[in-house]
Amino acid sequence: MTDIIRLDGVSKQFGTVTGVDNVSLSVRKGEFLTLLGPSGCGKSTLLRMIGGFEEPTAGRIWLDGEDVTDLPANRRAVNMLFQDYALFPHMSVGKNVGYGLRVAGVAKREVEAKVREVLDLVGLADKFAAAPNQLSGGQRQRVALARAIVRHPKVLLLDEPLSALDANLREAMQVELRHLHQKVGLTFIMVTHDQTEALTMSDRVIVMRQGRIMQDGAPQSLYDLPGSPYIADFIGTTNLFTSRIENGQIACHGQALAIDAQAIRAGTQTFGFRPEKARLLPGDASGANLLRGTVSEVFYHGSVARIVVNLGPGQVLVDLQISDAAIGLPKAGAQVAVEVAPHKIMGFAAEDAA
């Protein structure tokens, strides 16, 4: 059995509010799993239940084959990287990192050796004696990380680890955390509301909504094969529209499009395509599967421009790669055509198209 964590029908009620609703999942040893979802979706509560900070109202939690549901946090071989780092302000960096070893009764000399080793790993070997408030945000995070991994937990939990950092640092830390994961070979479970972070860093992403698992899969499969309109729009951007199917054709805001038979499911009503998978052509272009309209707005992003095309009853977004722009950057009001290849159109089972 290589599942390090197994959740079996775990629920958490806060009074009458359901925080987590009957969640079952398992995590493989050494995996980097991310729980992704908007705030209030229950992802943090789930993480805190794994850590032992909340008691589930129903269900069992297994850690490495042992039922830990009733064990308090200090008896679980799981460590957490807290959102606010939770560094002890009255202790030096070395004392902070060595805390877990010290309370476990490890000999002083051994504590120091291990602390130095792990501080070296996170690149803070020279900060052993510094106080937490003398460190920068990024350094504090590394100290918290060192403190959390020094005891070689079976699982490292990361609660929105990058949210307190500014944009530049955040990107660097994404890379670092990923490298660290590969280097130390621990199982990581991260919680974030940032889809880019989730896609970049993890082996597997679980999207949650209203206390439930919406979809579970590798980043690429989530992006390419979203299981619902919600996921399609939550991860990346998707032009969503509803239509009936007639003779293998659908209508996008009143204009006909052909789609592949495999996208059609029983009762399919919602369709979508991603802005970067459509092509923007001049207004006089001719061909199949074209949507004709006028440019209403242009958002320039550097390598890419996102064009808002008005189709009359509705709008679609199209991304234009500046490098291979066949028509240059269009101006608002220009007549354009949007080419959507049939196999680029996704079909969803009829459900909530929120």
């Binding site: 308090p72 946090a73 460590n79 957490m80 807290f82 606010d84 939770a86 309370v103």
Partner: protein
Amino acid sequence: MSLAAAPSQVRTAPRARFSKRIRKLTDTWVWIGVATLILTFLYIPIVVLVAFSFNSSRSLSWPMTGLTLDWYRKLAENDQLIAAVQNSVYVAVSATILTLLIGVPAALALDRLEFPGKGVFRKLVLLPIALPGIVTGISMLILFRLMGFGLSLETVIIGHATALLAVVVTQVFARLQRLPRSLDEASADLGASGWQTFFLVTLPNIRTAVIGAGILSFTLSFDEIPVTFFLTGRDNTLPMYIWSTMRRGLTPEINAVGALIVAASILLILISVLLQRERTGQGR
């Protein structure tokens, strides 16, 4: 100030600008006057108290007749007074320790635990802040009488500890509220037991609040009359002794005691200011 740069004011005639400066100047002086007035009101009596402890005449009237240390010498020979000081130290130290032992867990419970009756518990604990000491005093007097307890310095200690609980709880609770909950969780996460977390993480971080509350409790207990009045047996505390002396007549001896208390108070104030400074210096 920010207004000075507004376009409408730029063109103000020099005369108007001048009168504005005058107004601002008088403004400043009016404020300084107000502050001085209040500080004078607060400090003249204390200055008078100390000054007359050195007055060579027995009567407390203007002008002072000359300087002497006689009154302090008399204090040193006053056995009753010395006994009262000893009693007060005993009461204040015991009451402070007791109220800290009960108040710190009470504050922790109010901050971290959910339990039935929490609202009533909080209201009861905090009540003595606004509740006249006399009500605490007589209600405990009746209790001790019904239980058949004789009155003594120990009953005074229990009374003080109860009345001062509110002080400790408010101060420690306020600090706990500013202490991120995640510190406790991080400690548990790293394998520490509840006791280890309390002694290694929580207590060090609320240390200055606990010490500050302790100093304040000590001062208040040392100075307490209403509760003591009803709960003491034959032993007098210092304020009770001073009070009974006062009712017999005013003497510079009382001023001398007062001056010493002022000196001690200044010391305690300095300690608590230093504690505060350490806290802000620690950052967080």
